[in-house]
């Protein structure tokens, strides 16, 4: 679909990421179409557009991130336009436009976790996984380690404020994380 030269390309220029080797490349398979249709069917008739987010979530689970090629396809499935899908993709912080590492670390930086020490924990985790904390900016909040195994992102409130600092690795939440626990977790995930 690369002949589709519209504004999307400019908005969603992909930054190459070492994490890509851990995820399959986006490709429209019959299973994927089937899944998308299933998600669209959840919503009332004529409201296919509602399925954009669920389909994006599914793509993220399968392929790690939403690449520009996926957007026109999502639009097609949801009877929307590619630029509308791009608008959604660029809005939400939870949608990746760059491939994350195999293990994606999210660390909460909001007030309660910050008071519990997450701001000191962040550089420590970065040093453990070989990432420069300075490369995490507002424009590019996620940093991927050179080996592609890890990616890290400082996020806002994970809604577990009483038990900070909170860290999420892929889908699992770890609370009251200390430096020692970081060491243990990283060793544990490396073994997987």
């Amino acid at each position: 679909m690369s002949e589709n030269t519209n504004a999307i390309d400019a908005v969603t220029a992909v930054r190459p990421s070492p994490g890509e080797k851990y995820f399959p490349k986006f490709e429209v398979t019959p299973e994927l179409v089937e899944k998308a249709k299933e998600l669209v069917a959840l919503y009332p008739e004529g409201k296919e557009q509602s399925a954009i987010l669920p389909i994006i979530h599914h793509i993220q689970e399968e392929f790690g991130y939403v690449c520009p090629d996926a957007m026109p396809w999502i639009a097609e499935m949801c009877k929307s336009t590619p630029v509308h899908v791009a608008g959604i993709v660029t809005f939400y912080p939870g949608i990746h436009r760059t491939c994350p590492g195999k293990y994606h670390i999210r660390i909460c930086r909001t007030i309660a976790c910050a008071m519990a020490g997450s701001e000191e924990l962040l550089p420590y985790i970065c040093s453990k996984i070989g990432v420069d904390p300075a490369s995490m900016t507002d424009e590019e909040p996620m940093a991927v380690s050179p080996d592609g195994l890890w990616s890290i992102e400082a996020v806002e409130c994970l809604a577990n404020c009483g038990f900070g600092p909170n860290v999420m690795i892929n889908d699992t939440l770890y609370s009251q994380v200390t430096r020692r626990k970081v060491d243990e977790l990283i060793a544990e995930y490396k073994k997987k």
Partner: protein
């Protein structure tokens, strides 16, 4: 119930009344439907399905139940806002986008007791005659989403969802919709736009509220997770019995999440108004950490105005006379703290002790709000990064005393000038912090800084304005 045992180390405090959180951290309890039914689950639903929908609404109205999402709007009254003679389908949306910093209650319901929410939702849907409901869950609960989906499938298999629920002729479909990490989706109209597959920009609320024009242009009721669980509680206890307990204007139990500098942070379910902030922090939470003193409390999630612990408040005695008190004497219900200029909101209490630098705390909150502003209204989109810039500058010791006034001025010009309540939410912390802890802000500033350029770019540009001869 005394036959419930809790996991070691997770036992509720004796002053707690566990209702909604009854099964949280309970020994041998899992989120499966088997466990829930064994515990008396879905019995209330059976009772409700034999009633008239209007009678259910009346019961909830009688109970005086107020929403637990933050605004505290009476749930039963909200349900009656569906226009009379409506012919469009009615939708119910469960707001599970718990993203207010300091609030962490819905997480545990979703992860440990999902069927309680489903039962509450079915009851609410029956009351407003909605046949399609959506649970909007935040993206940060991937495990919660899986647990919830399993619970929904189980409930469907058992005939509590789907067509002709328990042979009552009532149909209901519940869909789980996951967000993608945006705070603004907790705002009900933003949430509706997000479900519709649009950018979650909030809609202008008066004249049309979601109960009149909501999801897909149809009447929509948006309720918080805890509110819906409370609905089940109301129907279980009966409206009058529910209203008889707790504070007069906000009856029932409340779940309070305490975070920050206390010995035992965590969640506590208490009868509304039965204890004060002081009792909560000193008895239930064990007081400040060793050798420290409480300094400030944010009583209702990050957007509530901060309260100084040494601030003298004017309390009113029952006989009408005025007495002096502190925040520690204020009862924990929905309204009491509002009389002293803050709000009890979603029940997230953030406690700060004397080791905390207030400008730093505010800077953290400003970063949160600058990051989460959706960008629809200019005052909020531009004002938040500006406030962040100012507070960062002050924290770095590069601010001038005027910056503190400017900071408050920016905040003053955001609130009330935006489509949604985010404008208020982001400016209240700044207004409160800069007025109540002004000294601390000023101590970090230097008058000479007013004359200095603040960035390398500005310094570069300024070079050309200086005559060198």
């Amino acid at each position: 119930m005394s036959d419930i045992t809790y996991k070691p180390g997770k036992e509720p405090h004796p002053r707690e009344t566990r209702r909604i959180f009854r099964n949280i951290d309970r020994e041998g309890y899992d989120p499966s439907i088997k466990c829930y039914i064994k515990d008396g689950g879905y019995k209330t639903l059976k009772k409700v399905l034999a009633m008239e929908p209007a009678a259910v609404i009346d019961e909830v109205k009688k109970s005086g139940l107020r929403g637990r999402g933050g605004a505290g709007f009476p749930t039963g009254v909200k349900w009656t806002f569906i226009p009379k003679g409506n012919t469009k389908p009615v939708y119910l949306v469960c707001n599970c986008d718990e993203s207010e910093p300091g609030t962490f209650k819905d997480r545990f319901i979703v992860h440990q007791d999902p069927h309680q929410l489903i039962e509450g939702m079915i009851i609410a849907c029956y009351a407003v005659q909605a046949h399609y409901a959506v649970i909007y869950m935040r993206e940060e609960f991937p495990e919660g989403a899986r647990i919830m989906q399993t619970a929904l499938d189980e409930a469907k298999a058992k005939g509590y969802l789907g067509e002709n629920i328990m042979k009552s002729g009532f149909d209901l479909k519940i869909v789980l919709h996951r967000g993608a990490g945006a705070y603004i989706c907790g705002e009900e109209t933003g949430l509706i736009n997000s479900i519709e597959g649009a950018r979650p920009y909030p809609r202008i609320k008066p004249p049309f509220f979601p109960a009149a024009i909501g999801l897909y242009g149809c009447p929509t009721i948006v309720n918080n997770v805890e509110s819906l669980c409370q609905v089940r509680q109301v129907m279980m206890m009966g409206g009058e019995a529910y209203a008889a307990e707790g504070a007069q204007r906000s009856p029932g139990t409340r779940i309070i999440g305490v975070s920050g500098d206390v010995k035992r942070p965590g969640y506590y379910e208490i009868i509304s108004g039965s204890i004060t902030y002081g009792e909560l922090l000193y008895d239930l939470c064990g007081g400040p950490r060793v050798g420290r003193k409480f300094k400030a409390i944010i009583p209702g999630g990050a957007s509530a105005k901060v309260m100084r612990c040494d601030e003298v408040l004017k309390g009113r005695n029952p006989d009408g006379s005025v007495r002096n008190m502190t925040i520690f004497d204020v009862p924990l219900d929905l309204d009491s703290i509002a009389q002293h200029g803050s709000m009890s909101g979603s029940g997230g209490v953030i406690v700060m002790d004397d080791t905390r630098s207030m400008p730093k705390m505010l800077n953290n909150l400003n970063r949160f709000f600058a990051w989460e502003s959706c960008g629809q209204c200019s005052p909020c989109r531009e004002g938040n990064p500006w406030m962040l810039k100012l507070s960062t500058r002050i924290c770095n010791g590069q601010g001038s005393p005027e910056d503190v006034d400017l900071l408050k001025d920016v905040a003053d010009n955001i609130c009330g000038r935006t489509v949604c309540a985010f404008g208020e939410a982001c400016s209240w912390p700044t207004q409160a912090f800069t007025t109540k802890f002004r000294d601390e802000f000023l101590a970090l500033t230097k008058p000479i800084n007013a004359l200095k350029p603040h960035s390398p770019e500005a310094a570069e540009a300024r070079k050309f304005l200086t005559r060198e001869d």
